[in-house]
């Protein structure tokens, strides 16, 4: 019997933009939603993010990107994750991302994209749906009874 455990989320700031207010707010919101959130800090390379996700056995990697380089960065992070054998990790992105870019991000494997104005509850609910959906697999919800 595996007991229900908190979802583990790595929140990362890839690339060169130096603004992490949004990332920190999301960290706090997900913590308040009952998740264990690991924040990597600023200016992370895709390799660093993948390695953190591996060591922390993350269920989710959330990328906060305000630089406009979301296509290249998401692609690179997903590539590194797959390269580490982390196919099951759910990747989501947030930040200043134009709606027209969303289909491209989803096509490369980003499960959700949250722009400015997104509600915390929606982010948390989407994460829960993806993780529990993907992992009726290794994450049975609480013991019956």
């Amino acid at each position: 019997m595996e007991r229900s455990r908190p979802i583990r989320v790595v929140v990362a700031k890839p690339g060169l933009d130096g603004h992490d207010r949004g990332a920190k707010v999301i960290v706090q919101a997900l913590r308040d939603a009952g998740m264990e959130v690991i924040y990597t800090g600023l200016h992370q390379t895709p390799q660093q993010i993948a390695r953190v996700a591996l060591q922390e056995d993350a269920d989710v990697v959330g990328l906060s990107i305000l630089s406009g380089a979301h296509e290249a960065l998401c692609q690179a992070v997903i590539g590194e994750l797959r390269g580490q054998g982390l196919e099951e990790v759910v990747v989501i992105a947030g930040g200043t991302i134009h709606a027209k870019d969303v289909p491209k991000l989803k096509a490369m494997g980003v499960k959700e994209v949250f722009g400015a104005g997104s509600k915390f509850e929606d982010v948390a609910r989407a994460i829960e749906a993806h993780v529990h959906g993907a992992a009726a697999t290794d994450r049975p919800v609480a013991d019956a009874g």
């Binding site: 264990e36 924040y39 056995d57």
Partner: protein
């Protein structure tokens, strides 16, 4: 356990035995979330023959524990040692979530294959560590690390679990920690094998260091080891090599004096009781909903039924 969980366990053990970090990461998750699986895991992964020293870093919030751990890790890596780091941060008592931010200070080691960093949330632990910390240390030991650094949550004066989990305790303080009266208090100040005054360049740094030394001179020694007081500026890597040298001296002292063995026995006794309590707690959770058990509990609490009969009833209910 369903098939997927079994598959995950098997994959984890296979990767662990192949020396892959992903195996260690997965098994940590397993023993942390499913303590009942831990026995099975440990009996299968075996033990490492590499001698291993486990060092705890504890102290108040904001003392610079994470930064010091990172700086000490650099010293250890220069010596060619392989380092496992366990960094504990508090679980929210309200949401059950946690923000695990210690590793931000350890960024320079993210890509070093000789360093493995794992963040743990306390998940109900109230002594500065999480209930699974000791099992996580055991996994890292079995994985072949020769040095394991354990960073507690920011502690007050009485969260002292680290003492029972590691070989050497470093207590990290800052000059603002207070005057000599604070230094004379019991608890945290008594468990240190090494004292580190971090941010020692701040006002009052020298005075605090000498107050600490004076206090130690007056205190009753627990043994022949006198805890040294070291000054650091961990964010600039100043003093970390000296801290590690003092810890290495302590490691040698532990071996040569026989205290390593004494501490190991005490630790094992504590661990045995912790395991027994945890097991009892789980059994009780499964039983307590039933009226006859609730009634028995009331009678035990009011002292009309002995605890021994209560324990026997639980054991017999298996």
């Amino acid at each position: 356990m369903d098939n997927r969980a079994t598959a995950r366990l098997e994959a984890g053990i296979r990767q662990f035995q192949a020396g892959r970090d992903s195996g260690l990461a997965r098994l940590i998750t397993l023993v942390e979330s499913s303590p009942e699986l831990a026995d099975g895991v440990f009996s299968r992964i075996g033990e490492s023959s590499v001698p291993c020293h486990v060092i705890g870093f504890t102290g108040p919030p904001g003392a610079g524990k994470s930064t010091l751990v990172s700086s000490v890790t650099t010293v250890l890596r220069d010596e060619g040692r392989r380092v496992g780091i366990v960094a504990v941060d508090p679980t929210s008592p309200f949401s059950g979530g946690a923000m695990l931010g210690d590793r931000i200070r350890m960024e320079r080691h993210y890509l070093d294959p000789g360093v493995f960093i794992r963040s743990l949330a306390t998940r109900g632990g109230i002594g500065g560590l999480s209930p699974a910390t000791k099992d996580v240390i055991k996994l890292m030991r079995a994985f072949g690390f020769d040095t394991i650094l354990v960073e507690t949550v920011g502690v007050g004066q009485t969260e002292l679990d680290v003492m029972a989990a590691v070989d050497t305790v470093a207590v990290v303080l800052v000059p603002e920690a207070g005057d000599s009266i604070q230094a004379m208090k019991a608890g945290l100040m008594e468990i240190a094998d090494v004292f580190v005054v971090n941010k020692a360049d701040r006002p009052g740094g020298r005075e605090f260091k000498s107050a600490l030394r004076a206090m130690l001179g007056l205190a009753q020694q627990r043994g022949p080891w006198e805890p040294p007081v070291l000054a650091t500026q961990a964010d600039r890597d100043v003093g970390s090599a000296e801290v590690m040298a003092a810890i290495n001296r302590h490691a040698r002292y532990l071996r040569e004096s026989g205290e390593l063995e004494i501490r190991r026995l005490l630790r094992e006794e504590r661990e045995l009781l912790d395991m027994a309590f945890a097991h009892l707690g789980n059994r009780w959770k499964a039983l307590k909903g039933r009226p006859e058990w609730a009634e028995l509990a009331t009678r035990v609490i009011s002292r009309r039924v002995g605890v021994d009969r209560f324990l026997k009833a639980i054991a017999d209910s298996a």
